[in-house]
């Protein structure tokens, strides 16, 4: 029972924070998000070359930093606080976990470490709601390997991904395939998200894949991947909320109404106390989830779903009140808190809403 960070983890955090403050200031970040491409290649290269952070979770044998889940959590939180739009979660968390679990994919893992590969995770479909377990997209065996047919909805990062990680049904079993973004028969229709990232709806029309495109197979492998992704999304949320709370405290201390800083009003004080409390509880839930990723499947899933419910509630409470306490200023695109609020809103339902995870938790608790 120990909840302290190692010196290495503290250094990782400080280095990342410093780097992002310099290289991805809020205005730079927003310019990237609103550029034609929607992201910054130079920042991405810098994360790889200057910091080596893209391989934080990749094994040393594949050229990565060989970090554990806690290292990845530390990185995710800082990236959340920076409101990064580039696909770290999709690439360095999900991509690295899938390729790592598949085994023998050193070349592709090296491409993650170097920044040459950018992934998108294509699990959702128009009719899937939040359930990743039963995709309608079909994988059919062919002489040369596989053929994919189907449609995926709201695939975040797809417009700037080099590869898509695609869930598909092989008979009754879900499986995960690695598909090049330039594959014949794959068409994307891109659009922005409310949090400044980009997404696409994807159509797979008889996309031919080699044998080696199959990365993972089976419900547990898919669930585990989603749980890892959700846990790190939770860590990202902590960074997002931390900035909202800090900005709200600063703003209310500075902003004067009726002759005093509004931070002096008891009702607003208690609201900020509750925001702080929600953040502390969300942090606690994320720690449990991250520390349970290698536990037995049911324990891992239970910790992750409990975390997502806690984090979703905290994102809503902290986000809404950050806007409210900023008053009119919170309702402008100019102030960064409104961007963090939108990111928090997306995180609430990404990889499953609070309702969805509460039920998953209840079902797992009953089974236990």
């Amino acid at each position: 029972m120990d909840f302290s960070f190692t010196d290495d983890q503290r250094q990782l955090r400080d280095a990342l924070r410093g780097y992002l403050e310099r290289e991805n200031s809020f205005s730079a970040r927003t310019a990237s998000a609103r550029s034609a491409s929607g992201w910054s290649e130079s920042l991405w290269r810098g994360l790889a070359d200057d910091l080596g952070i893209l391989g934080v979770g990749v094994a040393e044998t594949a050229g990565g930093a060989g970090g554990n889940a806690i290292d990845m959590m530390v990185a995710s939180e800082e990236l959340g606080a920076n409101l990064l739009v580039e696909p770290f979660l999709e690439t360095s968390v999900i991509g690295a976990a899938a390729l790592g679990a598949a085994g023998g994919r050193e070349a592709e893992l090296a491409a993650i470490v170097s920044g040459d590969m950018r992934c998108a995770f294509a699990w959702a479909e128009a009719e899937s709601r939040f359930d990743p377990a039963a995709p309608a997209t079909a994988a059919t065996r062919t002489a040369a390997g596989w053929r994919l047919d189907g449609r995926k909805a709201v695939v975040t990062a797809a417009p700037y991904a080099t590869h898509l990680l695609v869930t598909a049904r092989d008979g009754d079993e879900p499986a995960l395939f690695l598909v090049g973004a330039d594959a014949a028969g794959l068409s994307l229709r891109g659009y922005p998200m409310i949090d400044g990232r980009r997404a696409a709806d994807a159509v797979f029309d008889a996309v031919s894949l080699p044998e080696a495109a199959l990365l993972l197979r089976g419900e547990e492998a898919t669930e585990r991947l989603c749980d890892i992704a959700t846990a790190m999304l939770g860590a990202e949320a902590l960074g997002v909320m931390r900035v909202m709370l800090d900005d709200t405290i600063s703003f209310t201390k500075e902003r004067r109404q009726f002759g005093q800083p509004i931070a002096g009003f008891q009702v607003l004080q208690h609201r900020m106390v509750d925001m702080y409390m929600q953040l502390e509880l969300a942090t606690s839930a994320v720690y449990r989830a991250v520390l349970s990723l290698d536990a037995a499947p049911a324990e891992r899933a239970r910790a992750v779903s409990a975390m997502k419910v806690t984090v979703a509630g905290a994102c809503r409470f902290v986000g809404q009140n950050a806007i409210q306490l900023h008053g009119g200023m919170g309702m402008t695109d100019e102030v960064r808190v409104s961007h963090y609020f939108r990111r928090a809103t997306v995180i609430e339902s990404e990889f499953g809403s609070a309702d969805w995870h509460r039920r998953r938790f209840a079902a797992l608790s009953r089974a236990a």
Partner: protein, 407 residues
Amino acid sequence: MEIAWSADEIAFRDEVRAFLAEKLTDELRASGAHMTSVYADPGHARAWQAILHEKGWVAPAWPVEHGGTGWSLAQRYIWQRERIAAGAPPVSPMGVQMCGPAIIGHGSDAQKAFFLPRMLSGEHFWCQGYSETGSGSDLASLKCRAEDDGDHLVVTGQKLWSTHAHAANWGFFLVRTATLDRPQQGITFLLIDMASPGVTVVPTVSPAGENIQNEIFLDAVRVPKSNVVGAIGDGWTVAKYLLEFERGGAAYAPGLQIDLDEIEQFAGEVRGDDGGRLIDDAAFADAIAQARIDVLALEVFEFRAMSDASAGRYPHAIPSLMKIRGTELQQRITELRLLAAGRYGMAYQPQAGVSAGPVHFPHADGGFVGPREAAIAPMRYVSERAASIYAGTNEIQRNIIAKIMGL
């Protein structure tokens, strides 16, 4: 006590329905139904106003001699219900509901003769110049100053949160003409032609990426004193008068009921968490039922306010209570809409709705993905965060009620 409408009121309702059925075009209906916020786009709002103007129904609450309808409070409530239920866009409130009453109550005969008809016809499209940086809820601390220069006032300062100022040709402003002991003193209510030299409108982009609000910069703007409403220095009185003009007619419930109908219909078309349709999901159905129950209580609260006001009573806490509860429910219902939208509620697609102003950030132009309802949901959710902030935050409203309660 009687909760039913009278036979006369039902006849009136039928007349309203017939009018709406006849005059409301599909395009106007769509502009009301697919609004991305509570604001209609100025173009459709003006088109609809022209139709209402022909009928004489633009300003129901005004005295008949100025173009009002002579309706009872109940009729005005019925009109609002039916208008909202039919999906008609709202007429911009800045002229008819705000500046109009100020001129009616405190304006000169010349002002009445010049401005009121043009307000009704829509020739003048109004915006408001009240808030400033640092003077939001604490409005009386405003600093925008107007110096006396003979027949003119010369106005210099800055104003915030001016809805549709980019589309307006006239604005009503609160400016400071004197600095006295109480900050409420020395404020003047002034009408400014937005084409005046020195007026600059700078768009404020909302978190949803729309330009509805604006910042107005006034740089030595010369305004004839004939544009002062009431006396110089009496602006606070005029502003209070206009706020109290339309008591008893507030109606959040009808719009919220329509919102819930839309969401329920939408939820009947999309998948829920348990594999069936969302509307059959127990937790979602429960949340919808709770919202409907809360709206039903608010509706009777509105009826009671209307009944009290008709009888000449109007407890002072009522507007604040109604604003708090109405906006809280409004916001909660945008959450239900977002929940129904699922993953498509994460996409930024203002082009799927009818925006109330220019849209700023990059967005795909050729159509949209997912159901239209899902595309509108995040716009409404984000935009409606303003509901608990504008017109005195809900915290300020609670302070007001606490004072009335003697705490």
